[in-house]
């Protein structure tokens, strides 16, 4: 554009943009797709196949056709485009408000790899000779994660972070059983701010769980660990940094206490964004660890799955890895299913291959220096954001400690002053186009909110996010009813959350909804 044209534009009476984005979410009042179904309507008119009909065995035959919605192509497309517009996520919003979940950018090029027919059309029962390429990706990703963690072997079979934790518990159980010590070692020690999946998986595996509470400084109470560790200890399962963002500097001592008692030490590294290339689980003495590929290695969360988890173990635990394992003899890749001490399968076949491919591509694109830069940027971003957030009157960080990659903050001060709760701040923040989250169990920090910027977001993103929270906090002081009445610019207004806690009402499927609400 020429300078002359630019000048004339500058003279146009266009109001400057206000400091905060005038966001408004799409609102389509979109019905559920089943409600849009009309009998006989079709997306594709499939021609008659021309082959003779064959009678199916009664055991696999449906008594009645599936109740699929009947719609045209346009209406299906329009439905899902509308839903995508009524959404908030990494691709259109500053998604730093989902701390502990880690919403980082998933590079679009990696999606092209997984939609490539050579990946997308693989069949899990193909002969090994025909899938050497994908086995190589599994093998190479395993070796990379082994190097990142310092561990000996890695299983990429678990389909989620919690499945990886469960695989680790299963291996801990098998290890002690193999030594004739399984009956006696019936306790697993964890900490209050370790991710709750650790306690949950230990319990599912039949263990009694002992939880270490934080001391006055926010660290797990090491004296309580000394009191708890003993001949009944199977393992310590611990997250570090914990969900508060605080890194436990005495972690090696924790591991030592448990080892001395004959237990194993298992590191929840689901979120290793503050650690990549800086510390390694094996170097602190851990026997097992796991990564969530979607938290650290950029694969999509996939809305509750299938995601991908990696279980990493020391040499002593290798025999117990889920199987089959991918092996390489220098020339050829093969699957080894002959593993008599294995804990068995964590899911059918190899694992969630598309996510394995994405994580492999992500690591290959970054290299070792790039991974370290991810960690350094994530920590820098978090501390920059923390600095901005703590300047907002009424916001605080519970313990006066440095943080790694995330912080659980508190609006307690603001709440005491205005009566506005953290949840209400979050709902109002959504009016400015950002997501915000409070906390999961344990609800120890009053009026909590948990922010995790990762390495994906720019300084401008963090400035904008902090400015939105500062604005909403200011609104809470000036006009608390305005904040309580939010959202105003969103797809829907307030929802009554009681149905989420009531099995008589909740409806995860259309079938359940029909039964519970339309009958």
């Amino acid at each position: 554009m020429s300078g002359h044209a630019g000048d004339s534009f500058a003279e146009l009476p266009v109001a400057p943009k206000p400091p905060l984005r005038r966001f408004h979410q799409a609102r389509w009042d979109e019905p559920i797709i089943f409600e849009q179904s009309r009998p006989g309507r079709r997306g594709v008119a499939v021609p008659a196949a021309g082959v003779p009909a064959v009678e199916l065995p009664a055991s696999v035959r449906r008594a009645e056709p599936p109740k699929l919605p009947e719609m045209s192509q346009l209406h299906v497309l329009r439905h899902y485009v509308r839903l995508s517009q009524e959404n908030l996520g990494v691709d259109q919003a500053i998604a730093v408000g989902q701390g502990t979940c880690t919403m980082k950018y998933s590079p679009k090029v990696n999606d092209r790899f997984v939609t490539d027919p050579r990946i997308a059309e693989l069949h899990p029962l193909q002969p090994e000779d025909s899938v050497q390429g994908v086995l190589e990706i599994y093998w190479r990703l395993e070796r990379m994660l082994a190097e990142i963690s310092g561990m000996h072997r890695v299983s990429l079979q678990p389909a989620s972070g919690s499945a990886a934790i469960y695989a680790n518990v299963a291996m801990i159980r098998a290890y002690h059983a193999s030594r004739g010590d399984g009956e006696r070692r019936d306790q697993i020690i964890t900490t209050m701010f370790s991710h709750p999946s650790n306690a949950a998986c230990a319990k599912v595996a039949g263990y009694e769980v002992i939880t270490l509470m934080p001391d006055e400084n926010g660290y797990p109470d090491i004296e309580a660990l000394r009191a708890a560790a003993g001949p009944r200890t199977a393992a310590l399962m611990i997250t570090n940094p914990e969900d508060t963002g605080i890194f436990n500097p005495r972690i090696e001592e924790f591991v030592g206490i448990v080892h001395e008692a004959g237990g194993l030490a298992c590191y929840d590294q689901a979120n290793a964004n503050g650690l990549l290339g800086i510390t390694r689980a094996a170097d602190a003495g851990f026997d097992l660890c796991h990564f969530n590929l979607h938290k650290t290695f950029s694969t999509p969360h996939a809305c509750g799955g299938p995601a991908a988890g990696a279980s990493c173990v020391s040499e002593a635990l290798e025999p117990f890895l889920p199987g089959p394992t991918v092996e390489f003899d220098g020339e050829r890749y093969r699957l080894d299913a002959d593993r008599p001490r294995s804990v068995g399968k964590m899911r059918p076949f190899l694992g969630v291959t598309p996510n394995v491919v994405r994580a492999y591509a992500w690591i290959m694109a970054l290299g070792a220096e790039g991974l370290r830069e991810v960690a350094e940027t994530a920590v820098l971003n978090n501390n920059y954001l923390m600095h901005k957030i703590l300047q907002i009157p009424g916001a605080s960080a519970h313990w006066d400690r440095g943080r790694l990659e995330q912080v659980r903050y508190s609006w307690q001060g603001l709440f005491e002053e205005t009566g506005v709760h953290s949840e209400e701040i979050g709902v109002r923040a959504a009016d400015f186009g950002v997501h915000y989250w409070t906390s999961h169990h344990p609800f120890l920090v009053p009026e909590p909110f948990t922010l995790e910027p990762t390495e994906s977001y720019s300084k401008e993103d963090l400035d904008e996010y902090a400015a939105i929270l500062a604005h909403v906090a200011d609104e809470a002081r000036r006009d608390p009813e305005l904040v309580r009445g939010a959202p105003y610019n969103q797809t829907i207004h307030k929802i009554d959350p009681t149905s989420l806690d009531d099995p008589k009402q909740w409806s995860p499927t259309w079938r359940a909804y029909t039964r519970k609400h339309l009958a």
Partner: protein
């Protein structure tokens, strides 16, 4: 005097201007002499002349006056120049004198025995005359203070059976220490900084239970209002967390674990509370919500026992005390379960041990502060100090630090 003193919580480093020692600092003192009298007698409160008469008949002694004196002693040790303005007789004067103070007296004549109306009248008479009001009693007393609409900040000396309100210090000595460090003109609550401390004063809730309903077994704390208290949060009792706010069903999980751990031939003393009540329910026994019950081998040995009975029941056999954490303060002994007296506790710890029941939420709510024992006898408290098993759910426990309230907050 020009020396500056800091009036901050234990966690804060921010200095704040305090009044110089030479300036007059007047503390009002109101004692409910019969507060707490129903506790050791198993009467779940002390409201009403009839209950007080029955408690005294059961061998109870008046201890609120002594607890008030402990607070005044701690106050004067730190701030010898403080003036005490109080009520003639057992409603304050006796405690002040027992602590070595020479109090100034209000010109009012309380009833004999005194009642809540006298507390309210004393608070009204002190309006604009004191910098800080110390009162000794329980939740009922706090309500009476509230009715008197005090013009200055207030601080409770815990001396009642029910101490659910947030306006109480964690112990008498702490009340004295907080009072000594309090500066009337300190800055009003400002923004919260990273350490989560506050300046000046904060609002504390006054809650109380209907004692009649409480004796029938219904715990329904009611909020009566708020009092301004010195903002020394680390040393004030947090408002108790009612059992209804915990995760639903968790009491059943805790109870299942308690029952799973019970051994034949061993006696278990179940303290008051919804969680211990769930243990009784799981055993199919008619244990009480607010009393202390004794069970063994799936049978109810005795229900709602007073201290004297309990002493006999725990004698000469392995006995474990199963107690719950009383709300957000962390007390497991000495609040609401005074029947488990120092003498009873000594016998239990000699033969068995102490098990605490609490949801993780309740433990987490302590923010790293220890569980507290305040039996009134440091020797008995010392027996339970260390790491105590806390059952938090089915196949779930924690090991948690327990300290004597006297050790934790030395005077």
């Amino acid at each position: 005097m020009t020396s500056e003193r800091s009036v901050t919580s234990a966690a804060s480093a921010a200095p704040r201007q305090a009044p110089a020692r030479g300036e007059a600092f007047t503390v009002g003192l109101v004692v409910n002499p019969v507060a707490g009298v129903g506790g050791p007698a198993g009467l779940k409160g002390s409201d009403g002349a009839e209950i007080q008469r029955r408690a005294l008949a059961r061998g109870a002694s008046l201890r609120a006056g002594e607890r008030a004196a402990q607070a005044v002693r701690a106050l004067l040790a730190r701030r010898p120049g403080a003036r005490i303005l109080t009520v003639p007789g057992p409603m304050g004067e006796d405690s002040a004198r027992a602590a070595g103070a020479v109090p100034e007296l209000l010109r009012i004549v309380p009833g004999a025995p005194s009642s809540g109306k006298d507390t309210t009248a004393a608070v009204e008479a002190m309006r604009d005359a004191v910098d800080l009001l110390l009162f000794a009693g329980g939740d009922g007393t706090a309500r009476d203070v509230l009715d008197g609409a005090p013009s200055c900040p207030v601080l409770g000396v815990p001396a009642g059976v029910k101490v659910y309100s947030g306006c109480f210090a964690v112990s008498p000595a702490t009340a004295g220490a907080v009072a000594a460090e309090f500066a009337r003109d300190a800055p009003a609550p400002g923004g919260t900084d990273g350490s989560g401390t506050y300046g000046g004063t904060v609002e504390a809730e006054v809650v109380d239970l209907d004692e009649e309903a409480y004796r029938r077994g219904a715990v329904s704390p009611r909020l009566y209002g708020t009092l301004r208290v010195p903002a020394v949060r680390a040393r004030l009792s947090g408002r108790k967390v009612g059992s209804s706010s915990g995760a639903p069903g968790s009491a059943e999980g805790v109870a299942a674990e308690v029952v799973a751990r019970m051994r034949p031939g061993v006696r278990y003393v179940l303290g008051p509370g919804a969680t211990t009540m769930a243990v009784g329910r799981l055993l199919g026994l008619a244990t009480t919500l607010l009393g202390v019950d004794v069970v063994q081998d799936g049978e109810l040995v005795a229900a709602d026992v007073a201290e004297r009975e309990l002493l006999d029941l725990v004698d000469g056999r392995e006995t474990h005390a199963v107690v719950s954490v009383i709300g957000g303060q962390g007390f497991v002994l000495g609040r609401g379960n005074q029947q488990i007296s120092p003498a009873v506790l000594k016998k239990i710890m000699a033969s068995g041990g102490l098990v605490v029941l609490a949801t993780q939420q309740k433990l987490a709510g302590l923010n790293g502060r220890p569980l507290l024992a305040d039996t009134g006898d440091p020797e008995a408290d010392a027996l339970v100090e260390g790491y105590v098993p806390v059952i938090t759910g089915h196949r779930e426990s924690a090991l948690y630090r327990i300290r004597s309230a006297i050790e934790e907050f030395p005077s």
